[in-house]
């Protein structure tokens, strides 16, 4: 009987081993070939990075004998991309060597141990001095070390349709000084052109980070209140600015000045804004990023050459016209090296090739990014890439950054939920703000919030 038990155990062991070996298909590349896995996002409206990597892949492979660059584009929206990326980081087998990462998720992912410390690598990189201080800070962890290198940055502004505003009797160029100016113009458009959406601002969970970056924070940071108190290192709860901002969104949606709440909750509403509403002259204005021209320029996903003449840009105003008379938000995406990489030097070299002057210039022009390299920012071809480069670059002086803490992504999701509750009428403004306050306290603890 003992013999049989032992036999059964050994059979069990053997079969489990067979099963386990069957699971690990990826072979170890310890021989003379090495593989670099590059993970990044690709969507029907974001192909610039894919084009760039496809271009430099043969260059890199030619320069390094026996190295294969494996491009792994993930076709997904921002939220799904970050989830898939985080899941791939769970195992050395699937973790990328080089990957594309949003600045607002950096600190959180650094804490999770997904990113390689690049201090030693950038120290020996001549081009590093070309990057501006803001860009260097964007890739920095809480410990002051560099973990990622930005591809570019962006700002947010009001984009408005000149024909629509002119038809409503508004003088062009338009620059609202207060929130009420926006409502006034929106109501004028509503009265003169009933078929036009007067002024849209994103809200709800569908548009994800777009809801906060291209809508809510422009409001909040123009009230004098903020999301996070950097000095105290605490999250702000119970602020009037938060409620006023929700209230402004509620007004836009309740009066039918924005798209319908049902449309706003559709994750693809921004495609409608760029692809249909603006080109067809059915939208007065919206808040969008400096990268907006990338959709409309030649080769963009919603090519519309007339945008150069039809569109105008204005700074988003502060609530009552307080200094500095404008608000903008900045973010941007970076390239980082995976902490689990077996070839850190090679991975960093690929990163530097992708971000050298020539490639950064191409990328910033084709993806309408605000350059972070001095030798790109001064290039004539960059400055002339579209008529709006100067205007959106000026907004850097009034821009804000999201709190760079690892709790931020969760709190952002709570802000999005608050906007959704308000525009759909599920909660009153005060209740939505109170629910947000309770959620924030639940996430960070009561010692990390302040009134």
């Amino acid at each position: 009987m003992h013999r049989n038990v032992r036999f059964a155990v050994s059979v069990l062991a053997v079969t489990s081993m067979v099963a386990l070996v069957g699971c690990s298909t990826a072979a170890d590349n310890d021989g003379d070939t090495q593989t670099l896995k590059i993970v990044y996002q690709e969507t029907d409206s974001f192909t610039a990075l894919d084009t760039l990597f496809t271009k430099i892949k043969p260059e890199f492979e030619a320069a390094h004998d026996g190295v294969t660059v494996e491009l792994q584009p993930i076709q997904a929206n921002d939220d799904d991309y970050s989830t898939k990326l985080a899941l791939s980081q769970q195992s050395g087998e699937t973790a990328p060597d080089v990957f594309y990462e949003d600045t607002f998720r950096l600190r959180s992912d650094i804490d999770a141990g997904y990113l390689l410390n690049l201090d030693d690598h950038v120290a020996g990189w001549d081009d590093w001095s070309q990057f501006n201080e803001g860009a260097k800070a964007a890739g920095m962890g809480d410990d002051g070390s560099i973990y990622a290198v930005p591809l570019g940055t962006d700002t947010r502004a009001i984009w408005y349709s000149k024909p629509v505003l002119e038809a409503a009797g508004i003088t062009i160029p338009w620059q609202p000084e207060t929130w009420d100016d926006i409502l006034e113009v929106a109501r004028a458009i509503q009265d003169s052109q009933p078929a036009v959406v007067p002024f849209n601002m994103y809200a709800g969970k569908g548009t994800g980070e777009g809801t906060v970056m291209q809508s809510f924070y422009e409001l909040l940071y123009g009230t004098g209140d903020e999301l996070y108190n950097e000095d105290e290192q605490k999250w702000v709860v119970g602020s009037d600015g938060f409620k006023d901002s929700l209230d402004f969104l509620k007004t836009l949606y309740d009066e039918g000045l924005a798209v319908t709440p049902a449309e706003a909750l559709d994750a693809n509403v921004w495609k409608k804004v760029f692809g249909e509403l603006f080109p067809q002259g059915k939208l007065g204005g919206t808040v969008e990023g400096s990268y907006t021209p990338s959709f409309w320029q030649e080769g963009g996903s919603y090519a519309w050459p007339e945008y150069v003449d039809d569109m105008g840009v204005a700074a988003f105003p502060t609530q009552n016209g307080e200094a500095p008379q404008g608000v903008s938000m900045s973010g941007g995406w970076t390239l980082a090296v995976g902490a689990k990489t077996e070839n850190p030097d090679l991975a960093f070299e690929f990163l530097t090739l992708a971000l050298n002057q020539e490639n950064a210039l191409w990328y910033d022009i084709n993806n309408s990014q605000i350059a972070v390299r001095a030798d790109v920012a001064s290039e004539q071809s960059y400055l002339e890439a579209n008529p709006f480069v100067a205007a959106v670059t000026d907004l850097v002086s009034v821009t804000h950054f999201r709190p760079a803490t690892s709790d931020y992504p969760k709190i952002s999701a709570e802000v999005q939920a608050a906007t959704e509750a308000v525009i759909t009428g599920q909660l009153r403004v005060d209740d939505a703000a109170a629910a947000y306050d309770a959620a924030v306290e639940g996430i960070v603890g009561s010692d990390k919030v302040t009134d």
Binding site: A8, V11, A86, L87, A262, S406, P409, E420, A421, Q426
Partner: protein, 311 residues
Amino acid sequence: MTAEVIVPALAGPAPAGRTGRRQKPTTTWRLLPILPAIVLLLIFLAGPVVWSFYGSFTNASLTGVNAQNPAWIGFGNYLRLFSDPVFPLSLGLTVVFVLASAIVGQNFLGLGIALLMNRAHRFVAGAVGTCVVAAWVLPEIVAAFVAYAYFSQDGTLNQLLAALGMTGPNWLYSFPMLAIVLANVWRGTAFSMMVYRAALNDVPIEITEAAMIDGAGGAKRLFLITIPMIKSSITTNLMLITLQTLSVFTLVWVMTAGGPGNQSTILPVMAFQEAFRFSDIGYGTAIATVMLLIGAVFSIIYIRALRPSKG
């Protein structure tokens, strides 16, 4: 006659003694061919369940410090869940979803169609069967997009209503629960219909005919003969469709993503959102564990109902 009695008596004790000694070796050897299957089941079915159960007691996360060093937090996730205002709502929506779409919708519609098909012309029965099964053979993601295209603002349903001169609401926004319940009924009725067709075929025609001769009408025959005779099929079917509906995710995610607000956030959607949108794996697995318990409660109820009544 005597031979029949003697043979077992003779054969009885002697082999019994032999098998008594051999019983265990034989059983062990017999386990051998199914061992790989057991191992695979343990790894791929029991493994994730155990992992999920374990994960629900930790603060494991997809990002942040807890991704690197998840800590044991005991019942923390469960305490948080029971004080989460979304949880009772989500639990209620899940129960409504299961009751309305599975137990009422799929079950009764499936039984009704099966009964009618038994009487219908072969051609009609075939055509109806094909239509019903078509929704069921579609991959879930395709069925979900079809349902989305049907119920959305400019979808098929509203175009049909427009042709009749009516303006339909945005179903997915104004009536999200109704939309997903109808979609799940549409998708899942085929299963119940097929189970009941098979069961009805097993009801001996003689009994029904005898009842008819005794003067039992249609309703009486249905409630006194047919339903008692397919009782075990009904409970089996109820159990299967309940468990299937409890785990419906793709359909709801594609159609409403749990919105607007949380108005159609059934538990699987809530678990997904917490685990993968908010990166809170520990909390997400706690919700999954609660779903497992709900499924277990339903199963126990059905299994008890299935137990053959004594006497």
